[in-house]
């Protein structure tokens, strides 16, 4: 009976190329039937395998749902496509650069030109500065990527590339390699996209599918890099302990901040006894670090990898429930995840009896409500339980007492997204990358004063200098001053330590931390005291208020730093500034030692590192009321050079607070009390008459 059905199905598929909808529904029926059969046979044996420790016997599973037919594979890989395919990068950064307009224009213009094309929205390849990126695959040709395709360039692409099959050289970013097995024609004179300067020294592992595959397509996930193969093997081998051992071998450590060995964490949770047999796995997608967005990119561009990773994690630990805790600020990520979860449920990869293996697992999305502290494990658990996101006292750790009092394992998106890939690639081979105890790759979101901002994935052990080089260096001929790594919990690495390698321990040694991967580059025009104040302001606002060192301590730190960035009004304030400066360091260490959670413990890091490496700047603020970088607006004043001013009135016109006075054709002047120091007058003055002091 089953065999017959299968035959009918494959026939149907081969007959109806392209009508995926039809084949999909038959596929689902097939699985439903299978699951029903199996369910009847193995009642009450759910999760038996996951919980049993001896597991030498192989499990027979039904791989049908994750096996592609030849046609499906060719379609998913776009081999020998019959009509032109347009891929448009529509992650948040793509959209923020106008990808939606490009998409709409392509659609409307294609109708006008009576072109039969397929438009596929893809995620983000990481080179945000080149967005919107549009890839074009002409029928039977290699896929070519164009950069910065705003809507005004669409018509030219249609006329030249789609109609005349001409590649527009000046817009080309690179081509994708053609499938070895296909007869697609290659463009021998166009360089590969992976040879492009920005990508050349990167090692794409976590991000390998991002921006290449359609994040909504189940088939494409399977076709590219063997999606769900790792899961099938794990279920087939039916040895959860081996999965954990593999992860231990790989040397993978948590990518969310702390860098705790992932395998060990899983082991704790697997070994923990649960009162009612329930365990949970949680994916921490509450990426709250300002300046970090790699988790968003992964969720938006490759949601299935997170789902597969979670199922494997659940299987290894013996959990039947998974929760993805995602920021509400990431609506596109939530949309892609919801879609991926519903497809997986339809195909029998989530729910009861996954792939006929007897393992049950479901995933639920919980939307965060905007609290940085919820990135902390126990605070996140509190938030899922519907409470204020305040961290719990540890121990007990979540591995023994987590969500609703049950053993819970929490990992971050980047960690989970590479689980399947590590198992596919081979844990031992994965462990070859990197240095010391830091293995594999790390994704950084490179922003700030850098030419090429975006996501970079590099092998561990690479130096910060090399990452800055990947980003194209500092714009406008300015000098590198510091790299802020690890978000508000991290530290600033000064220019003389630019050769520090990316390694959990080495970074800790210089006072910073790996963090989740925000890397903000600063140049001479960034004031380090102001930076420390900025982070302290952020932490102070986000401090949950549970423990006193963090709640009160960060407020005092912020007060001290704010005083430093403002001119003292009288003698009393001068003395006060001096006095508080003396206690700054001591206060920072008290918070570091006594705060309850990771947020508080690491809160003084930005202050301590800047104080350590940029003491001269603190002194300039304190003794001379001067900000060397000219960034602290409280210490600056704008003045109009009466000799240069011709009285054109442009500054007066643009001043938001009417702080500029003066008659036409006569020198103007600025009323200091009213000036909000926005710098509009300076940027609008055509005669360089506005001086910043």
């Amino acid at each position: 009976m089953k065999l017959k059905e299968m035959k009918v199905m494959t026939e149907k598929i081969s007959r109806k190329k392209g009508t995926t909808k039809k084949t999909r529904s038959t596929n689902i029926n097939e699985i439903d039937k299978n699951t029903n059969n199996k369910n009847a046979n193995s009642k009450n044996t759910n999760n038996k395998i996951a919980n049993s420790k001896n597991a030498n016997s192989k499990n027979t599973i039904n791989k049908k749902a994750i096996t592609l037919t030849q046609d499906q594979y060719r379609k998913a890989k776009h081999i020998q496509n019959s009509k032109p395919i347009i891929f448009i990068g529509m992650g948040t950064c793509g959209l923020a650069s106008g990808a939606q307009a490009t998409f709409d224009t392509f659609r409307s213009e294609a109708l006008k030109y009576k072109l039969d094309i397929e438009i596929i929205p893809v995620g983000c390849v990481g080179s945000c500065f080149l967005e919107p990126i549009v890839d074009i695959k002409l029928p039977g040709k290699a896929r070519v990527a164009y950069k910065q395709i705003t809507s005004d360039k669409v018509v030219e692409i249609i006329q030249r590339t789609l109609q005349k099959e001409e590649i527009i050289r000046e817009w080309v970013l690179g081509k994708y390699p053609v499938e070895p097995s296909s007869s697609d024609e290659d463009f021998s004179d166009i360089p590969l996209i992976s040879d492009f300067e920005f990508f050349k020294n990167q090692k794409k592992f976590v991000l390998s599918r991002c921006g290449v595959v359609n994040p909504r397509s189940f088939e494409e996930y399977i076709a590219y890099e063997d999606g769900f193969k790792a899961l099938a093997e794990v279920l087939e081998e039916a040895n959860p302990q081996k999965v954990i051992d593999d992860i231990k071998t790989s040397g993978l450590r948590g990518r969310g901040g702390g860098g705790f060995p992932t395998g060990q964490k899983w082991q704790f949770c697997r070994d923990a006894q649960s009162p009612d047999g329930q365990k949970y796995v949680i994916c921490n997608a509450d990426e709250g670090d300002p300046g970090a967005f790699m988790d968003r990119a992964v969720l938006e561009s490759d949601p299935f990898s997170v789902i597969e990773g979670m199922i494997i994690m659940g299987y290894a630990i013996g959990a039947s429930k998974g929760i993805i805790y995602c920021r509400a600020e990431y609506p596109i990520a939530i949309k892609q995840l919801t879609n991926a979860i519903s497809i997986c449920s339809e195909r029998g990869l989530l729910g009861k009896n996954i792939l006929n293996s007897g393992f049950n697992f479901e995933i639920e999305i919980k939307k965060g409500a905007g609290a940085f502290v919820c990135g902390e494990e126990t605070a996140l658990i509190e938030s899922i339980e519907g409470k204020r996101g305040m961290p719990r006292i540890k121990p007990p750790y979540p591995a023994t007492y987590g969500l609703y009092g049950n053993p819970t394992n929490i990992n971050n998106v980047e960690t989970i997204a590479q689980i399947a890939k590590i198992l596919n690639y081979g844990p031992a081979k994965f462990a070859e990358w990197g240095i010391n105890k830091s293995r594999g790759t790390k994704v950084f979101s490179l922003t700030g004063k850098i030419k090429h901002a975006g996501l970079v994935e590099v092998p561990m052990g690479i130096t910060i200098r090399e990452i800055v080089k990947i980003g194209g260096g500092i714009p406008n001929g300015k000098k590198f001053k510091a790299a802020q790594i690890g978000g508000p919990s991290g530290g600033c690495i000064p220019a003389h330590l630019i050769n520090t390698p990316i390694d959990y321990e080495e970074l800790k040694e210089v006072g910073a931390m790996m963090g989740s991967g925000g890397l903000v580059i600063m140049d001479e025009s960034t004031c380090m005291v102001d930076t420390a104040r900025f982070f302290m302001k952020f932490i102070q606002e986000e401090s949950c208020g549970k423990c006193i060192p963090c709640r009160e301590g960060t407020r005092r730190l912020l007060e001290i730093l704010t005083k430093l960035t403002q001119k003292p009004k009288n003698d009393y304030e001068v003395v006060d500034r001096m006095k508080s400066m003396i206690s700054l360091k001591e206060l920072a260490y008290v918070i570091k030692d006594t705060a309850l959670c990771g947020l508080g413990n690491s809160a003084p890091n930005p202050v301590l590192t800047t104080l350590n490496y940029f003491r001269d700047e603190y002194e300039a603020h304190l003794y001379e009321n001067r900000c060397p970088a000219k960034a602290c607006i409280g210490l600056l004043s704008f003045r109009i050079d009466a000799e240069k001013c011709v009285g054109c009135g442009l500054c007066k016109l643009n001043c938001p607070n009417d702080a500029i006075l003066g008659e036409k054709k006569q020198a103007h002047y600025i009323v200091e009390e009213k000036c909000v120091k926005c710098g509009l007058c300076k940027s609008n003055c055509k005669f360089n008459a506005v001086i910043l002091e």
Binding site: L95, S97, A292, E329, K367, K449, T531, S683
Partner: protein
């Protein structure tokens, strides 16, 4: 400065604009399991997306439905940045003050916005036209400084762009 538009982004970000015909509170609540305290945050999110904010009356309704003290609802609603206890303006401005935007000078935009709007950050203008918020990070760091108004995003905003941007919203 670059402009772009995408649907619903802001709706979820700020909890949503006030709908013309909001559903009854009992209808909103009935989507959730009664008495399940862990549903509190999703309930608050649903209520806010329906009414634009969480009113005092609704707090009591939620408390009764979930069988929680109303003080607890207030506690949770004030803890998370997403929830508002006061109605929003017609347009919501979110100025990003994340690290990347800060380094690129988003702080200089604050006084400009405040002057133009005649209201402080976190407040709504007197005519109910704008609500001006500072947010931690919009995740579009490569285009910093970023301003988001309703469903539009503006990248690389300089102080001189502010007037021009605001003029588009009535």
């Amino acid at each position: 400065m670059s402009i772009l538009s995408f649907e619903n982004r802001n709706k979820k970000l700020s909890g949503g604009l006030k709908k013309l015909m909001p559903a009854k509170i009992s209808d909103v609540l009935s989507r959730f399991k009664q008495g399940d305290a862990s549903e509190l945050i999703p309930v608050l999110q649903a209520v806010q997306s329906e009414y634009g904010y969480i009113s005092e009356d609704n707090t009591y309704e939620i408390a009764e439905y979930l069988n929680l003290p109303s003080s607890k609802i207030y506690g949770v609603a004030t803890f998370y940045a997403q929830f508002r206890l006061e109605p929003l303006g017609r347009h919501v401005i979110n100025l990003c003050t994340g690290t990347a935007c800060h380094v690129k000078g988003s702080e200089k935009l604050i006084p400009v916005f405040e002057q133009e709007l005649k209201c402080k950050a976190g407040e709504t203008t007197k005519d109910g036209r704008f609500t001006f918020n500072l947010v931690a990070c919009l995740g579009a760091c490569a285009l910093s400084p970023v301003v988001n108004i309703d469903s539009d995003f503006y990248g690389n905003v300089s102080p001189s762009d502010v007037k021009k941007i605001l003029r588009k919203y009535k």
